[in-house]
């Protein structure tokens, strides 16, 4: 009896091992010296060296993607992933690069710095990854950043808005989304000048993104001459904010500004109505909460709340064509899931465009992509027509077009009342 149990255990373990062995090993078709110092690229005869990706005929150009598929904003994460797939489909339908087709290698960055690090290491260890689109969240992307910088893999984030996502010392870091430095200031200006409110409270969810944005807002609002009566943090995943709101309510602010994501934003909007001192206060949140899920979760409490969004300079015709392809493939309107599909599409085409400019076919018919050249080529992107406008990357890696838009919720829908694109 005892022995047979041990035997069963052994069999299970062995099966596990076997399963581990048969798991798909990355279908690498080329070798590369990842340990070699990237700057000292010394192409030896027939052997690819340095920071090059060599793709044999018939093999795809693999682009990594870090998407927040789990974590606090799964729907927008899914939207960003699906938009990237549509962009890849478009590129492949147009013939790819020299007959080589693109492939998206999607990983779950889970909107967290920890998971961003895991995904980053995975990509860094995979010599077939040419470039990365993502991550979705700022914390996740800040987790990716040092790893990809060290591995010399360029990335373009569609939606990470925290100012620290790109920096002067990071030449692989790029994004299509606009920086929160802009969003926080526009929001503060809107609240102070347009709404005419002088005393507000700022809240955040302790994420890199939410806290960063709330701080920018606080500084900008104070600079304008307003008073920020409380600055309170909560946790992503919390559901009861009544203690924090009671504390904020004791100071009687006219508006609560929340830097964070939709679930928490919806709960705060709801619980504010049940907190002394905040029954009549207005609520404003930011692009992380600008989703259908917010409207649905907050219900009646969403009415009259404000939302800001770092919008692209939407190209109506291109967006319509994109939406049609998206609905045909996934059976859902992209805007039902999240706001950043245009940016996600454009992140992929920024990468693809730079690959087109740098890739070369060698004598054996292989496609050779030099990542160092690619890193420079992405920064040299200029006048690229995307869904979110004409994309031009600056020296910091800011590639986005557009501006900040401000919405109010009316009859269960977002209605733009100020900001970019509204004359």
């Amino acid at each position: 009896m005892r022995n047979s149990r041990h035997f069963v255990l052994l069999v299970v373990l062995l099966l596990g091992l076997l399963a581990g062995c048969t798991a798909p090993a990355p279908a690498t078709t080329e070798q590369q010296a990842p340990a070699a110092a990237p700057a000292a690229a010394q192409p030896a005869a027939a052997q690819p060296a340095g920071n090059q990706v060599v793709i044999a005929p018939g093999q795809p150009i693999r682009i990594g993607g870090s998407f927040a598929l789990t974590g606090p904003i799964p729907d927008p994460g899914k939207d960003i992933r699906q938009a990237a797939e549509i962009a890849i489909d478009e590129l492949n339908a147009a013939g790819g690069v020299e007959g080589f087709l693109f492939e998206l290698v999607a990983e779950d960055g889970a909107c967290s710095g920890d998971q961003g690090t895991v995904v980053g290491n995975k990509f860094a260890a995979d010599p077939t990854i040419v470039a990365v689109t993502g991550g979705t969240c700022s914390g996740e992307t800040i987790g990716l950043k040092p790893i990809l910088l060290k591995a010399r893999i360029p990335f373009v984030s569609p939606s990470a808005t925290n100012p620290d996502v790109v920096s002067a010392d990071c030449d692989v870091c790029n994004r299509v989304a606009l920086s929160d430095a802009l969003q926080g200031e526009v929001d503060a200006d809107f609240v102070f000048n347009t709404l005419g409110l002088k005393k507000v409270a700022a809240m955040h969810d302790n994420s890199d993104y939410g806290k960063g944005l709330a701080e920018i807002f606080q500084n900008a609002f104070t600079k304008l001459g307003g008073e920020v009566s409380s600055f309170e943090g909560v946790q992503v995943g919390d559901t009861d904010f009544r203690a924090a709101l009671a504390k904020i309510g004791a100071n009687q602010p006219e508006l609560v500004y929340f830097g964070g994501y939709s679930t928490e934003a919806a709960l705060i909007a709801q619980q504010m109505r049940e907190s002394a001192g905040l029954e009549n206060a207005k609520f404003m949140s930011v692009d992380g909460a600008y989703t259908q899920q917010y409207l649905q979760a907050a219900g009646a409490a969403a009415e009259g709340t404000y939302m800001s969004f770092v919008a692209g300079d939407a190209q109506a015709e291109k967006l319509a064509a994109f939406t049609e392809a998206y609905v045909a493939k996934f059976g859902v309107e992209p805007s039902q899931l999240g706001p950043f599909h245009g940016q996600s599409h454009d992140s992929v085409i920024v990468i693809a465009d730079a690959i087109k400019r740098t890739a070369q076919v060698d004598s054996a018919g292989n496609l050779v992509i030099d990542r160092e050249a690619l890193i420079k080529a992405i920064r040299a992107t200029a006048g690229l027509e995307g869904i979110t406008g004409t994309l031009t990357c600056d020296a910091m890696g800011e590639c986005g077009a557009g501006g900040v838009q401000i919405f109010i919720v009316e009859n269960g829908e977002f209605k733009q009342i100020a900001g970019f694109g509204l004359e």
Binding site: L69, E232, D240, L267
Partner: protein
């Protein structure tokens, strides 16, 4: 000769233990004094109005009521099996999920927008559905994950419980996805009333009253019914209880049913209070409820109630009283746990654990 050596060593060990105890108690007292000093200075500096403290206390009581229902589950199972059912938070989460599906069902039927009696009936049925969902989960857990390990060393079912907890969380993630489900409140539960400057939400009142009623019901079941008597007998001594003709397995299943029903009710009520439920929304409340059970004295039913209400109050009032941001409320809750355990290792109302149980 040898005996003198041994006695002198044991004397030294005893003296060391006594010294350590006094050092620990001294540090605890100093900590407590610092705490009181901080509360007083912050209270003087911040000068919140009285209504603020009352509304924070009400928040705490509501939170405590929910914790109490879940904590009772930990305590009941511990009392009988001497094991911590770490999957109990997930039992609650599944109850909340069943409740949200029942809610969607009744909304589709149009009951939620019907006359008041209809809405109340629907709410009761939703609560019943949530409790049923939890009961099925709890009983299955007992049968599959715990009963086969009953004779095993104490750590084994504990590991099994942690595994079951993760299994349930990720099964729900796999089946229902990662997006949170929303409890859409009927207008009946929306809003609240005012007493002076204090706002009291309806859901809060309902949670507090219902959890008190459920605790009373549990108390009556354990103290006044035959099955309750059997439960107490099994908790006292399984072997002897079996010799007296008590079906121990049945009593254990009944215990799991009771604790799961309470958790299911807590899950549905928390759902209506906080309006969202997702695959991991049982984890943190479960941990807090476990803390509450330990705080009150694990295995002790009134202890779980007192511990939970206390923990809820500390969490709600603590951050403002100490003048630190509310995001650190968990630090305060767990610090209190540590401080209480230093002075009363068996919890606030816990009896001294007998040799047999320890």
């Amino acid at each position: 000769m040898t005996s003198t050596i041994r006695s002198s060593t044991s004397y030294r060990v005893r003296r060391q233990a006594a010294t350590t105890r006094w050092v620990v108690r001294g540090l605890g007292l100093i900590g407590l004094a610092l705490l009181v000093w901080r509360v007083v200075t912050v209270g003087l500096a911040e000068s919140y109005p009285l209504s603020f403290w009352i509304s924070q206390a009400l928040n705490g009581l509501v939170l405590g009521g929910v914790y109490a229902l879940v904590a009772l589950g930990y305590t009941l199972v511990y009392g009988i099996l001497l094991m911590i059912n770490f999957a109990h938070g997930e039992v609650m989460m599944i109850g909340a999920f069943t409740g949200v599906f029942a809610l969607q069902f009744f909304t589709a039927l149009g009951w939620m927008s019907g006359p008041t009696t209809m809405v109340v009936l629907a709410l009761l049925l939703i609560a019943a559905a949530g409790m049923l969902g939890s009961i099925v989960t709890g009983v299955t857990l007992e049968r599959v994950a715990y009963r086969p390990l009953r004779g095993a060393p104490r750590l084994v079912p504990l590991i099994s419980a942690i595994g079951a907890s993760l299994f349930l969380q990720y099964s729900v993630l796999l089946v229902f996805g990662v997006s949170p489900r929303t409890y859409t409140r009927p207008p009946l539960l929306e809003g609240g009333f005012r007493v002076g400057d204090v706002f009291v939400p309806y859901t809060g009142v309902i949670i507090f009253v219902l959890s008190l009623l459920l605790m009373l019901a549990l108390y009556l079941i354990v103290q006044r019914t035959k099955l309750g008597k059997a439960m107490r007998a099994v908790a006292e001594d399984k072997g002897t209880a079996a010799l007296m003709g008590i079906d121990v397995d049945r009593v254990i299943v009944f215990t799991f049913i009771l604790s799961a029903a309470l958790a299911g009710a807590a899950g549905v009520m928390l759902g209506f209070h906080n309006t969202v439920v997702k695959f991991n929304s049982g984890f943190v409340p479960g941990l807090k409820a476990f803390t509450a059970a330990v705080l009150g004295g694990i295995g002790n039913i009134p202890g779980a109630m007192v511990g939970a209400l206390l923990l809820g109050l500390i969490e709600a009032i603590g951050p403002s009283a100490l003048g630190i941001p509310t995001e650190y409320k968990d630090i305060i809750a767990f610090s209190v746990l540590v401080i209480v355990l230093i002075f009363r290792p068996s919890g606030l109302l816990g009896e001294v654990v007998s040799e047999k149980k320890a």
